[in-house]
């Protein structure tokens, strides 16, 4: 990611507030390690970025996104659009409108590459459990896994979700549950990617 209209060469990681900023606790400049601390990453050996900006999570009013960005160290090599196990690269950003039935995919830290289908959109009153309490989200996208698989598992937060055919980004994965969906493997929730890009004033590199 880069800031809109910025040609300075600064590159940013996009993920969730709860991943990069620990639910509003992070401060600009905080070290970001890869692998994450849960995967035994340590500071300073594994520091790849520093927290730059977070959209604060709100307790009393609806949230639109759970997102933050971190400035990547210049020494870190990256492939901003690479889709790893899927192959090829992200083609860009998809439409505002993501219809039910859209076939999507994501590459996640826990469940790897999975495919799924949009089951609902423009979801309001999505109540998600965080360490800071139950938070409400409006205008979200819901996805179920294909076949007999869940679309996501714990640890997949921050994955970009893209339309399988076009490879256009449509969402930022942030939440899910273990019940529901036509295969009974649970449902996944994503912030619309255009809302994320607009609120953080960023664009794809």
């Amino acid at each position: 990611m880069k800031l809109r209209g910025d040609d300075s060469g600064k590159v940013f990681i996009l993920s969730n507030n709860h991943v990069l900023a620990a639910e509003n606790l992070g401060k600009a400049g905080d070290a970001i390690v890869q692998p994450g601390k849960y995967d035994h990453g340590i500071d300073p050996a594994d520091v790849i970025a520093e927290l730059s900006k977070q959209v604060k999570l709100k307790k009393t009013t609806p949230n639109k996104i759970d997102a933050a960005i971190a400035l990547l160290k210049k020494s870190v090599k990256f492939d901003a659009r690479g889709l790893k196990d899927f192959g090829g690269s992200l083609a860009g950003v998809g439409s505002d409108f993501v219809d039910e039935g859209t076939i999507v995919a994501k590459q996640g830290r826990s469940s790897g590459l999975t495919t799924g289908k949009v089951t609902a959109f423009e979801l309001d009153n999505v109540v998600v459990q965080y360490d800071m309490g139950n938070l409400r989200f409006d205008d979200q996208i819901e996805i179920e896994g294909a076949g007999d698989s869940a679309f996501s598992e714990g640890g997949d937060s921050g994955s970009v979700i893209f339309e399988k055919k076009s490879r256009l980004a449509i969402g930022l994965l942030f939440a899910g549950g273990d019940s529901g969906g036509s295969n009974g493997k649970g449902l996944t929730y994503a912030n619309p990617i255009r809302t994320v890009l607009d609120l953080l004033k960023i664009e794809l590199v």
């Binding site: 609902a120 979801l123 998600v128 965080y130 979200q140 899910g176 996944t188």
Partner: protein
């Protein structure tokens, strides 16, 4: 005779009314989904409950128990 399919605009218009009408239910999300050849509302519930209406202002309503939703960290 089958009811006519609802348009996307009709489903969007019914959503705030559904949110108000279902305030007493354990709702953890109300959104738009496909119903037949048209659109309707999907109501997510944290637990099973009876008497969830099947439509709101003529817009079909599909309910599903999705349990608790948690951050995926």
């Amino acid at each position: 005779m089958d009811k006519p399919n609802c348009t996307l605009d009709q489903a969007r218009a019914a959503k705030p009314r559904a949110i108000a009408a279902l305030a007493a239910f354990p709702v953890v999300g109300i959104g738009i989904t496909r119903v037949g050849e048209g659109y309707g509302l999907k109501v997510n519930l944290s637990e099973a409950c009876e008497s969830v209406p099947a439509e709101i202002d003529g817009v079909p309503l599909k309910s599903e128990v999705v349990g608790k939703i948690v951050k995926r960290s």
